[in-house]
Structures are given as structure tokens and as C-alpha cells.
Amino acid sequence: MAYTEEDLKKELETKEYEYGFYTDIDSETFPVGLDESIVKAISKKKEEPEWMTEWRLEAYKVWKSMEEPDWANVKYQKPDFQAIAYYSAPTVIDPNKTLDDVDPDLLAMYKKLGISLDEQKKMNNVAMDIVVDSVSVATTFKKTLGEKGIIFMSISEAIKEHPELVKKYIGTVVPTTDNYYAALNSAVFSDGSFCYIPKGVRCPMELSTYFRINQAGTGQFERTLLIADKDSYVSYLEGCTAPSRDENQLHAAVVELVALDGSEIKYSTVQNWFPGNKNGKGGVFNFVTKRGICHTNSKISWTQVETGSAVTWKYPSCILKGDNSVGEFYSIAVTNNYQQADTGTKMIHLGKNTKSTIISKGISAGKSQNSYRGLVQINSRAENARNFSQCDSLLMGNKCGAHTFPYIEVKNKTAMVEHEASTSKIGEDQIFYCNQRGIDTEKAIALIVNGFSKEVLNKLPMEFAVEAQKLLEISLEGSVG
């Protein structure tokens, strides 16, 4: 029997009931702290198969033997890992809450970004009316994806419904032993997304629209696994331009991409977590491990716009394993007030004729610190490997910092590696020039920043690019006196 709008409506209604059920047994939220029993309990709660529980426990053991890294160019009070609760029930919709209860500053920002009322409600856990429009849209998406054999669901569902795929690929790109936060994530990951594109299939839509309608809060330890089978294509959008004021201070996500022979994955991120207030209080610590593996003739392209979080530690990378594979990294990182970002990429060239491109644009304002850290590694077998890197920094005012840490390791004589870097400052003469043409200072800064970031903005899917542009303006508001 075909799945109809009515069915979905019913499903949504029962889901609400489920949420209600969770509120009743609120005492089930786990105690703070982390040990083996907590890891087991998380796995049990999620009704995972044994292999998954074992995998988590293995990761936990590794994590326990590791130390939190401190090589990044950021300073912060290290989180107390025994003071965090590692499992909480899904976000509760409060039927008595209306948008009037939401912080007016936040609402004003939504308005500037042009975010619909329904989305605003969703993001603040305000109960939503069932809107026929969005229901039918969701149904259409589900149907279109299903017809092509595309699997797109939460990773918890995938562990149950497609264990063979998850088991085959999870941890193959980012092993549990990779780093401190990846190990932690592997032990306790809450949820995340799973996506599989079958052989030769071109995913007919950007996988965001669906995502934004259907995915609620993703939690503290997000895990994403995306597999593009041979000769397939997918463009995946993660995050949202709307500001998220999550109460969880520590976010440690892991994203793994697998691009099999001849496939292409385009992965775009907009990150706008709470950056802390003007005096540097609060804000999210964002320690993310993102990596993709490219098989023969495949391509992975990372595009990111990072404007949020108090501390960011993030290096979306590509392992160019297959011959003729291509890796790309396009990044805009904005820091204002007391934000700190240490972000960049790693391009590991293993195969012959592999190519990578890195375009990084760092914008620092206020008293923030913005670092680019990148590694280009050409291994001995990688004949004719090519890399081009360009790292540009834009400074606003005299109290912020921009840093570049490029690492280049070349073990093959045929390699060609190029690195360009520039640092510039928004000058008063530029502002005056714009003012003289009737453009006010705030708009002038937006214009200059957008011009500076253009090469990266151009890589984003159209609708996302427009939102990202507005986001850049808002993030830098009031940064020039």
C-alpha cells in the first residue's frame, strides 16, 4: 500500500504522543559522567545490535587512554567530561510555549535571515500546526528518493535497517583511534544522518531541503556517514544559517564520506552555533572531525561557512586514495568579539594524478583569533600530484589576529604544489570611498567582505549562498566603530 499524506499526518501525531511519553519519564535522563556502563546504556537505549555496542566500548577504551590535544591555536577552559550527561531524551515540544516566549533578539535575527515562522517554531521547540504544504513536500521527497533507491535516514535507524552498510563503512574513514574527540564521539554518539546513493544514481535534489523540514535538533555528538556508490552524485547541505542557542557547550561531531569509483560528493556546511556574548562568555566548543576518502576517479568537495561557536577546531579533509581523484576545500571562517577558530584541511595524496584545491578565507574582527591550519601531503606513490592552496585573511580593527599554518610534505619529485597567501585590512579609505558614493559603513563592510569571500560563496548552492551572504553581514554587525 502506498504511503499517503494521511499516513504521514498520523505518524506525526503519534510521534508527538511519543514525545509526551518521554516527558512523563523524564527521570530516565542519564546521570552525568562517563564510564562503560553509560556507553552500554546508550547503546541499549537505542536498541543497537551487539556489534555496535562492542564498537562503542572499544572506542571508549581508546578514548580513556588518550589525552585532550592542545596543539591548536585556541585557548579555553577544558571541559570536565565527567560533568556532562551523555544521553537525554529527544527535545520535548512544549504545547504551552509560543513564539512570544522566545528571546526577541533571536526572533529579530530570524527576521533578518528571512526564516519562515514554521521553521522558527521548529527551531525553538514550539509546537507546530500540521501544515499540509510541508507535509506534502516531505512526502514527495520521500517518494522521489525512494524511487531512486537512495537511503536517507537517521544513523540510529540505519543501524537497525541497514546494518550491513553501516558495519562495512563506519569508522573506516575516521577510525575510533583517530583523535581524542573522534574516539569520544564513537563511544557516545547520539544520532546523526546516514545517506547511501546507489550505483550510477544522481541524487535529484540537494539533500538539505528535506533535512531542514524533517530533522529536529541533532544533539551534542552527531555522527554522519555518507556513501556514494560507483558513478553516483550527491550534494549534501548541513546546518542552518539560523542561530542555534544550544545549551550543550561541547559539540564533537564526526562526519565520514566515502566516494567510491567515479562518484562525486559535494558537502556544504553552514555553522552558526552560539558564539558566546560580546564579552566572550558562553558559546559552543565545536571540535569536529570530518574526512572523506576518494577512490579512483572520484571527487569530494567540502564547502564551509563558519560563523558561530566560541571555539572551533575543524579540518574537513580528503584522502585521495584512488588514481585521478580530486579533493577540494572552500572555506569562509568568520570570527568576531572573542571567538577563536583553528580550521583548515588536510589533503593526503596517495594515488597517481590526484589533484587538490584549497581556498580559505578568514575574516577576523573584534578581539578574535582566526587560524588557518592545513596539510598537503604528497606520498611517494602519488605520481603527478597537483595542489593549489590559497589562504587569504581579512582583518577588521587592530585587536584581532589572523594566523596561517600551512604544512607541506612532498615525497614525490613529480609533484607540483603551489601556495599563495595574503593578509589585508579593511581600510578607512575603502570605507570613505563607499561612503562618498552614498553607501553607509555597515553596508560598505558587507560589500567588502562579500567581495573577499566571493570565490567560496560561489561554490554554495544558490539558495544557501544568499542566506550565507546575509549571515556574514549579521555576524560582523557592529564590528567597526
Binding site: 561612503n435 552614498g438 553607509d440 567581495g451 573577499f452
Partner: protein
């Protein structure tokens, strides 16, 4: 249109202009000449509203309104335009995008709605054609890698698009060869009409062979020491600035 009365200006406490008086009416072209350091560029910056300079005394009245307290963008909204001696670069922002932003900012300040894209494009094409500007030029980043001539031509293009009441051309001839100079001067002449006014600031007389002024003023040590018609420019060219001191 513009009336400057006893204007005194200093920068970091050092007096630069010491009592400037100047009247410019619609339809007129005024040339302000003077040796280096006489205060020519200061005068243009102050009229445009550059806040690096401190007005210690005097008034600037534009269209019957004292504009001394107004910001640079407010003055622009009222119709004051300055062609910069050294136009700045804005990487990644095309000539088209910049002028579009400027026009819409001015319309918004006057409470008018934004110019529809098709009308904007038509206007850009018309003005580019008028000034002999290639369409490829319009998609280049503003002033980035432009030659001296291209930079100045771009300034005149913006002037053509914004249609200001008063245009101040600050040393527009500097760094131009004779052909580029002719192109720029031609553009200014085409844009000139009975309702707008132009102030040409220059060190040399040669630009005034192509943009013919109604009045010529000589600036020395922050004061206008001599005024006359275009023959004054020729006299200066022959005798040099020492003659005026």
C-alpha cells in the same frame, strides 16, 4: 548651489585651510589650481565629508542647507560626488555590483524604491557606451589591476550613473597620458548641463584645455589668492606659481 564661507580646516591641529570663500552656481565649471601642499585636495575631501579633517571655523552650504555636520554618505545622498585622485580597490566586487549598490543606497536614502534590474542594466549600458567603456570592463573587480586611465574612467562612469548635482574632480589628470586625459575630459563634457556644476582641482593647466572652466581660482597656503577666467590658467602656466606668491 555651493557656498563656502570663511572655511578653516586643520588636520591633527595643523591648519591647512585658512578662510576659503567660494560660490558655485548651477551650470558652472570652476577650476581650483595651486602648487603642491596648497590645500587643494583637503578642500575636496572636506566638501565630500572626510572626517579625518577638522573644520574649525566657517560653513559649507549646499542647496541652501548647511552640510557641515552631515556624514559623507548623507552628502552623497544630497548630490555631491567626488572623483578620487587615487581610487581604491575592492577585490571581488565588480564595477557593476558596486554601482548597483551605490545607486540603490542613494534611492533608499531618498525613500525611493530600488531600481529594477532591467532598468539598471539599460542605464549601465547607455552610460558605458557614452564613455566608450567595454562591457568586459564592467565585470572586473573594482579598480583591481586597473591602469591609471581605467581608474579615472571608472570614476567618471560612476559620476554618469549617479548623476550628481555637484562633481568634484580631484586631480583627475594625474597619472594620465594625453589620450586618456582626452577620453576622461570628453566624458565630463558630455555629462555637463545647465543644472549641474563641476569643480576641477588640478595642478596643471593642460586638463583645462579640454574641460573649459568659467572661473579659475588659485589656492596658496590655504587661501584663494586670485580668481579670474580661463586666461588665468594660461598665465599660471607661463609664469609658474611663484608669480602668485
Amino acid at each position: 548651489m555651493l557656498s563656502i564661507d570663511n572655511l578653516h580646516v586643520s588636520i591633527e591641529g595643523k591648519p591647512i585651510l585658512n578662510g576659503i570663500n567660494l560660490d558655485v552656481k548651477a551650470g558652472e565649471i570652476h577650476a581650483i589650481m595651486g602648487p603642491n601642499g596648497s590645500g587643494k585636495s583637503t578642500l575636496s575631501s572636506v566638501i565630500a565629508g572626510n572626517e579625518d579633517y577638522e573644520v574649525t571655523k566657517g560653513d559649507i552650504v549646499f542647496k541652501n542647507e548647511n552640510i557641515i555636520e552631515l556624514s559623507a554618505e548623507e552628502r552623497a545622498h544630497k548630490g555631491i560626488f567626488m572623483s578620487f585622485q587615487y581610487p581604491i580597490e575592492i577585490p571581488g566586487v565588480s564595477v557593476t555590483n558596486f554601482i548597483k549598490t551605490a545607486i540603490n543606497a542613494n534611492l533608499k536614502a531618498r525613500n525611493e524604491s530600488e531600481m529594477p534590474a532591467n532598468i539598471m542594466l539599460k542605464k549601465i549600458r547607455e552610460k558605458a557606451e557614452l564613455l566608450g567603456i567595454d562591457s568586459k570592463f564592467l565585470s572586473r573587480s573594482l579598480n583591481e589591476g586597473f591602469s591609471g586611465g581605467e581608474k579615472k574612467r571608472n570614476e567618471i562612469f560612476q559620476m554618469a550613473m549617479l548623476e550628481p548635482s555637484l562633481s568634484i574632480l580631484d586631480e583627475t589628470d594625474s597619472g594620465l597620458d594625453i589620450d586618456a586625459l582626452k577620453v576622461v575630459a570628453n566624458g565630463v563634457n558630455k555629462l555637463k548641463n545647465k543644472d549641474n556644476a563641476v569643480i576641477v582641482i588640478t595642478h596643471y593647466q593642460r586638463l583645462l584645455d579640454y574641460i573649459i572652466p568659467d572661473f579659475v581660482h588659485v589656492l596658496h597656503e590655504g587661501k584663494i589668492v586670485k580668481s579670474g577666467d580661463k586666461s588665468l590658467a594660461h598665465e599660471l602656466e607661463e609664469k609658474g606659481y611663484d608669480w602668485i606668491k
